[in-house]
Symmetry: C2
Subunit: 412 residues, 2 copies
């Protein structure tokens, strides 16, 4: 047993999905303590009522805040090359289309991934995951989508699988072969989909445990509604639950499709309308917002307040990727959600814990402070979660526990 | 002598003030080396032409980028209490005026500073400066302005003076008694100014070396044009060069006043118009932009592109303070300048080095890579300055040199 004592604020995040005003009215226990038994939370309450079991280790929270470990439920963290050149070109006024025509964009990342071995992808990604852990992240979803061939897509997913054994973060693989159409299939998106949706490929992903989810970029520049429906339907037959990149740049009904197929999450939503919100609501789909992406691109944010007011469960993730969101710190993205989308700190914590767990189908085990939940926990060096997100960009995480074990102590 | 070798990119920032297109067309030396003799830069060039002097120490830059140490030329880093409660209230929809009426705003910070000893202010500030150093900052301006009485304002400046001896950053004190009118002088701003502009007070600041600059918050909610002129004129008689908080919330001619009095800098400029820009241009005033403040408040940014295109020297600083810019990382604020104000990485580096030095009257000694300049230098763990600001929120600083000495090695 492990007793965490001397907690100034224990933020009692309930299991996801959490909706509407429940996101901002969390119970906080002041002067709290928490007991961990093995991998799970065994008890929590006010410190004065703590009965310390015999042979119990003690972790002094030092008057810090304790809350669930963060879950980054939308990333492209496996990539082989950075794209700072495009970043500068955009700031100099070049359009995304001009950059793509000059060989930039997703295809830039594709060339680098194809030229890399699986081991090289692992080596590139490992330090990123180590930094994420120090920032308080305990679970990360990682998408393929920079391979765009059967071989390179499976190589990316294999890298995610190998990374699971090399570090303490829980990793979740998502198959995003439908990220865009590769150059060699230009103007033949359906022929490309034929290759990556082949039954033998999908069966291999299932049999080797390479991906739990299938994602598709439903956008004018990527795949249309019919193609997206086809991707999700094919993957579902092999046990991969559907996710969508929806309504990022242009409204084309992607959120309605997400609702229609009962997607576990619809991600981006910068241009979502009332009809799309209603479709997601009816289907119980989690709305995953990516404020770091809009920040990085310098464009408008998703209408977080409208989506929360419509009683949808909202999650927040980094969208960490080298093209449109080179922001690997989920706490920084959470502060961006506060300042740029006007979410309250409580809402943002729920969005990056309980609701992010729901976006990954893990709400029964992760993302909440409840007896029996897995003890993925953060001890902050500040007395409240509000203080944490208010101190923009400073790493306030003192200690990280994954499944009851201390796996990270920050050196700030 | 110290030789820094194995530099992938040496960014040759020229001495400030740097204007217009010169801000984005910096010389870069690839495969470079640099020699430090005592406190100063003695030589730099391509590594192949390096002649290593006898008894020369060597610092391996590890294929990183080397550039001048950062200068944060506008901060309120001495404060005694955080204000996360107001941060949450604003996100919940309360206006700044409502918060101020309920005892919030600057006056919240004033009560905490007045209740603190000088030693307590030193203790609060020291870890902030240590974190700034690890992020690559080598010189910091710090304003008073949370005392709002002769005694408490001098206490703040005394804390800055004592901090100089306790850590390696060069600190620059600025007298900002004219931050707002304290409660006890409500509706009598001129009577308040009588006290803080008293000759004996100003003489003491001069004689004890407590402040090099005098600043005034020229705004509807603070001091008007006439009062601001009076403040700057009184301080100038005691050797304090004028700075202004100008055109932040409402246009009231503050930039014209800055031009008229030849202020060394005009800071904020979110609402500056063409007339204001012309006035600053004519006076040679540095335009100090504070993108972290607009980001933190979730409001519009200063028109950086228009100001640069008008050939003004632009500096960028954090405005680090507990009310409107709780962002202590200058590199993060520099990335915000890229993504939210569309400044290029080169422009932003000039703005936080050469032009920030000019905003503090130190352009002859600090902020540039030039033989004879003080060796305040950063070694990054990335091969270019563009990569640095593109990696939003990650500390890429490997080594910090202040006046030729290694004073910080980051633990990332």
């Amino acid at each position: 047993m492990l007793a965490i004592r001397n907690i100034a604020e224990l933020l009692v995040v309930p299991p996801g999905p959490v909706q509407g005003s429940s996101m901002r009215t969390l119970e906080r226990i002041c002067d709290a303590a928490l007991l961990v038994d093995g991998e799970r939370i065994a008890w929590f309450g006010s410190e004065s009522s703590l009965v310390t079991p015999p042979e119990c280790e003690c972790l002094d929270a030092g008057r810090g805040c304790v809350l669930p470990g963060l879950i980054d439920c939308h990333t492209h963290a496996v990539f082989a090359s950075t794209r700072e050149g495009e970043f500068v070109q955009r700031l100099e006024g070049k359009s995304y289309a001009e950059i793509a025509e000059a060989g930039g964009g997703i295809r830039n990342s594709v060339e680098a991934v194809r030229a890399s071995t699986c081991q090289q992808l692992v080596d590139h990604t490992l330090p990123r995951l180590e930094r994420m852990l120090r920032g308080g992240v305990t679970t990360v979803e990682i998408k393929s989508g920079y391979g765009l061939s059967v071989e390179a897509e499976l190589k990316m997913l294999q890298a995610v699988k190998e990374l699971k054994a090399l570090q303490p973060l829980e990793l979740v693989g998502t198959y995003l072969a439908a990220h865009t159409t590769p150059r060699e299939f230009a103007d033949r998106p359906d022929a490309y989909l034929d290759t990556v949706l082949d039954d033998t490929v999908l069966a291999r992903i299932r049999d080797e445990g390479l991906a739990e989810f299938c994602d598709v970029f439903c956008e004018r520049t990527a795949f249309d509604i019919e193609q997206s429906r086809r991707v999700m339907s094919a993957a579902a037959r092999f046990g991969m639950a559907p996710k969508l990149h929806a309504d990022q740049i242009r409204q084309m009904g992607a959120t309605r499709l997400a609702g229609e197929v009962g997607a576990i999450s619809a991600d981006h939503l910068e241009t979502v309308d009332e009809g799309g919100i209603a479709a997601l609501k009816a289907a119980g789909t989690v709305a995953v917002l990516l404020p770091g992406c809009s920040f990085f691109l310098g464009v408008g944010q998703a209408p977080a307040r409208r989506i929360i007011d419509a009683d949808l469960p909202v999650a927040v993730a980094t969208d960490y990727n080298p093209g449109s969101s080179m922001v690997e710190s989920l706490p920084l993205v959470m502060s961006i959600a506060c300042t740029q989308m006007k979410m309250t700190p409580a809402e943002v914590v729920v969005a990056a814990t309980a609701n992010a767990a729901a976006a990954l189908g893990r709400q029964d085990r992760l993302g909440a402070i409840e007896v029996g939940m897995q003890a993925d926990l953060l001890v902050l060096d500040v007395p409240s979660h509000e203080r944490w997100l208010y101190e923009v960009g400073r790493n306030c995480v003192r200690t990280v526990l994954k499944a009851g074990k201390v796996v990270g102590n920050a050196q700030i």
